[in-house]
Amino acid sequence: MKQFLSFVHKEFIHIFRDFRSLLILLIVPQLMVIILGYIIKNDVEDVRVAVIDPSHDVYSTQITERLSANKYFILQDEVQTEAEALDLFRKGVIDLVVVFCPEFSNRLIHSKDATIQLLSDGSEPNQANISVAYAQQVINSFRQELPSYYSGMNIQVNSQMLFNPQQRSDVNFVPGIVGVIMLLICCMMTSVAIVRERETGTMEILLASPLPPLTVVMAKLVPYMIISLFNICTILLLAIFMMHIPIAGSLWLYMLVAFIYILTALMMGLFLSTCVNTQLAAMLISLLMLLPGVYFSDMVFALDSMPAAIKSISNIIPAKWFIAASRKILIQGVDILYVYKEIIILIVQGLAFLLLSLKMFKTRLE
């Protein structure tokens, strides 16, 4: 045990004395979250709105006025048809279209089925989401201020994203980014650290010592595990307190899933280190594993829109399962019963990598 701890201590020395690895491990993850968070939470201002208002009656005019008074919206010329609006979208002149149903006031008071449709530009999903949310707020506040004798009166607001019907939540990026960063730290940094011992020749001395070779690699995993947990905590803190991302589910459940994912990624790194002999190879292969991690993990590209073959390939990527589980927990707020499948898959994958590594592990130089 003393040997093990002294080895862990040595690993921390390596990390803290190398400015570059320190940067990658402790600064880049948080920076990535802040930068991406900034891009995504970038306050949407100057949303250019076009209005389609067939009736021009008292209430539809009032709502239009409120929109134009709101600091986030800039009212553009009125258009007559949806086709005309679509054309303006394509030209990039407008960001949002508010469509009142015909005879708006009449239907609001008498048949109580007045509708407003919000059309947004789905090619920029995050911005579209936010501008729709703003418009909904304006409409809601108007509805609440209606005289009480109109109670029961209802405005149905339908929002629809054009060009990209796949709606994406602005909190999606936290699970995604954590999934990829953990892959970077646990898989790449770990395998590089193990291979470095081989490349610099220190592994030769360690192998010729009574230290069990497996202890050597396990001790190398510990610092990266601790750093990963630290990163997850700071990223969550950033997400909650700096970006005000609502967390729907249990943080403890999330931490449990994250911990399992970290172990799986560490085993991946361990396995990788048994396959290659140079730090460069370890780094390149990790990057090759990182890219599918990004593509197939539903982070940037929607898996639903991919061919079935690729979808099935994506199943072998641990990041996919972690991201799926963390979305369910963080966004949908589900409990463990709904993510047990993901947890089991991650554990199985981790064990598979561990067994493969043990099989490949060399107690000698070749």
Binding site: K2, Q3, S6, F7, K10, I13, H14, R17, D18, T200, G201, T202, E204, I205, L206, L207, A208, S209, P210, L211, T363, R364, L365, E366
Partner: protein, 303 residues
């Protein structure tokens, strides 16, 4: 009593294409300095790696400290000190951290075996807070030796410890090894490409192309050299070597730094050779008879 015994050891690389060891046999006695002398590619490092349980031999057996290198490798790893050819310590850790780390790796402490490394470690102790990567070549070797010694090994394996080290540090290093042998009765196996260091060993094996040319004490090897050996110098050394090789009565001629070493048969005399060289137009001719060095023996055995 033999601390190492090796029988008919074979090792090939690249699925048998490269033969690194072609049947090596030798014993190392308890408490002696055994030298493996040979040029690069002779198979010295391969032999070290098999003895330190880092490589498996293709065939043959080897025992270190009474244990088999294949079956009982774990026992061997507890009792050997190994210093690979390349400086293999943690460059980003300080001198003291390196030593303390290797002490814990072997389940001991610096204090416990300090008497073993004291002589050597004292010399680098003023720099104990300096990172190993920032040490000079000689100091790195002293640190590496300290780290290999800190667990009081039964046998020490040093693979080319003096390669790339300045002459003064090399001399100091050999003095340290002699002290370790005398004071602690430590068995040491050391390899070197430098023939002049061979004299420092108790017994040596001259190695070439994966085979031992001979095993004996350095003096024994020199004594077995029966040819007459001369050293020849002149103003044009390059042409001289070719001419010497053409001369009748000269058996072999090799360039040895500033002079050429030749072996001659009884028919050739100093004066006859001098006259011949003068006829060929050489000036400043010097011819002397010398006692052979290990390198001469190596050259001789090689042919």
């Amino acid at each position: 009593m033999n601390i190492i015994s090796v029988r008919n050891l074979h090792k090939t690389y690249n699925k048998g294409k490269t033969q690194a060891l072609k049947g090596v046999d030798f014993d190392v006695r308890q408490g002696e300095i055994f030298g493996l002398i040979g040029p690069d590619g002779a198979g010295k490092t391969t032999l070290f790696r098999i003895l330190t349980t880092l490589l498996l031999p293709d065939s043959g057996t080897a025992q270190v400290d009474g244990y088999d290198v294949v079956k009982e490798y774990k026992d061997i790893r507890r009792h050997i000190g190994y210093m690979p050819g390349r400086f293999s310590l943690y460059q980003d850790m300080t001198v003291e951290e390196n030593l303390a780390f290797f002490a814990t790796v072997f389940n001991t402490t610096i204090q416990e075996n300090y008497h073993l490394v004291e002589d050597i470690y004292k010399q680098i102790e003023p720099f104990k807070h300096r990172r190993a990567g920032k040490l000079s070549g000689g100091m790195k070797q002293k640190l590496a030796l300290s780290c290999a010694l800190i667990h009081a090994p039964h046998v020490l394996f040093l693979d080319e410890p003096t390669t790339g080290v300045d002459p003064v540090s090399r001399k100091e290093f050999w003095e340290m090894l002699q002290k370790l042998k005398t004071n602690f009765h430590l068995s040491i196996v050391v390899s070197t490409p430098y023939m002049d260091e061979a004299m420092q060993c108790d017994r040596i094996a001259l190695m070439q192309g994966g085979e031992f040319l001979t095993i004996d004490t350095p003096q024994g090897i020199i004594n077995s050299y029966t040819d007459t050996l001369w050293t020849v110098r002149s103003d044009n050394m390059h042409r001289l070597l070719t001419d010497l090789r053409k001369t009748e009565g000269v058996k072999t001629a090799f360039a040895f730094g500033e002079s050429h070493h030749i072996t001659v048969d009884a028919s050739l005399t100093f004066d006859a050779l001098r006259q011949k060289l003068i006829d060929l137009g050489y000036q400043k001719i010097q011819i002397e008879e010398i006692t052979p060095s290990i390198e001469d023996c190596f050259m001789h055995l090689q042919n």
